[in-house]
């Protein structure tokens, strides 16, 4: 009868087990790229969805304004075109920076993606801070210009006062909803996901004991 040293034989297989990694190294790189690509694709789809939705809303509002006043429609069109251009420019800059990221090392690429997407969110929020009050004021001004009323100085002051009194909370609410809620739901949660993965990878093998096979 033959002897069978269970633990000894199990330990002998260890070298083969360690060599196995070499055969799958390439697959890991593909997987790392796919994972990041999934999150980035989600961001891309959300941006496209956002654009389509904006076009629809803007078109509906534009149609209403067009019926009201062609001059206002032109002013509105110029504003909207400018806003779309800036949004698209911001997004294309994001895509360009992301494409440049070296995807070979997952942790480094994660750090880069997080930095780039956070920068995109910061710039987009800053854009909202600037555009929203400007659009409000210009819209108000255009509406007043369209009216045939000639204002006295006192009436101008009253109109300005009401614009500010009404506008400040409305603009604040719109900025808050966009920057605090909308961006958080649309984009920041993906950054949080990426940050969580990065933190796990960083902490993962901190003070791990090395694997030992057998006793």
């Amino acid at each position: 009868m033959s002897t069978f040293d269970l633990e000894g034989i199990w330990r002998e297989d260890r070298d083969k087990a360690h060599r196995h990694y070499k055969t799958v190294e390439g697959e890991l790189e593909d997987m790392a790229k796919k994972k990041s690509a999934n999150i980035l694709n989600k961001i891309h789809r959300k941006f496209v969805g956002e654009m389509i939705f904006s076009v629809v809303v803007v078109s509906l509002v534009g149609a209403g304004i067009f019926r009201f006043s062609i001059d206002m429609f032109i002013g509105y069109g110029v504003l909207i075109a400018g806003a779309f251009y800036m949004s698209l420019k911001l997004y294309l800059s994001l895509r360009r920076d992301i494409k440049k990221v070296n995807q070979q090392r997952v942790l480094e690429s994660l750090e880069e993606y997080i930095r780039i997407i956070r920068l995109y969110i910061y710039r987009s929020k800053r854009f909202v801070y600037i555009v929203t009050p400007v659009a409000y004021v210009l819209g108000y001004a255009m509406a007043l210009a369209e009216s045939d009323i000639t204002f006295t100085l006192q009436e101008v002051l009253i109109v300005l006062g009401s614009m500010i009194a009404f506008g400040v909370p409305v603009v604040w609410l719109m900025v808050w909803l966009t920057n605090k809620q909308y961006y958080r739901l649309m984009y920041e949660k993906h950054v949080v996901q990426l940050e969580a993965i990065r933190n796990r990878l960083k902490n993962g093998t901190g003070s791990e004991e090395s694997q030992s096979v057998g006793s």
Binding site: M1, T3, D5, E7, W10, G204, T205, S212
Partner: protein, 168 residues
């Protein structure tokens, strides 16, 4: 700097061995290995750091293997117990030359005869894990580990004796 590749490089032997004991042929091994890799990669964000990473990887990989087994049974796959290296052997085990490679194959073959949960227990014991870590991986109490391990070990030794080995 640590990244996923480093994590897998350090822990690949775990996936390799689990793949071998829960699959019967090269194709099955490749399928299972891929699934485990994907599960570990996709689940990394859920690793809370309150257990050792190796323990967590064992848990994820074993759960994946057990699910894979259940799915294989569901689809009633007919598998033959081929060697992963596709080395053919037609002689009875006790007549095979006492080469290390043959013994490893015999060990894997015998482990595969155990129940799915028992395979995991035996593997962890052979890996030198203590009862509390085995319990954490399998998800049973430490006292249960002892009882189940004893049973599984006896079964394994019986399988090996049937194949002509003694002094286990």
């Amino acid at each position: 700097m640590v990244d996923f590749k480093t994590i897998i490089k350090e822990h690949d032997p775990i996936l390799y061995k689990i793949g071998r004991i829960y699959s019967h042929d090269s194709a099955g091994f490749d399928d299972l290995y891929q699934e485990m890799l994907i599960q570990v990669y996709q689940s990394l964000h859920s690793f809370s750091g309150n257990a050792r990473l190796s323990t967590w990887i064992y848990r994820v990989a074993l759960n994946t293997a057990l699910t894979h087994q259940r799915n294989e049974k569901k689809h009633a796959k007919v598998v033959t117990d081929e060697r992963i290296e596709e080395r053919e052997c037609e002689e009875e085990p006790q007549k095979i030359a006492e080469q290390g490679e043959q013994k490893i194959e015999m060990l894997y073959k015998s482990i595969r005869k155990l129940q799915p949960e028992e395979r995991g227990l035996i593997m962890l014991q052979l890996e030198g894990k203590k009862y509390d870590e085995i319990a954490a991986v399998i998800g049973i109490s430490t006292s249960h580990v002892g009882v189940k391990l004893l049973r599984a070990r006896k079964k394994l030794e019986n399988f090996l004796r049937e194949d002509g080995y003694e002094h286990i």
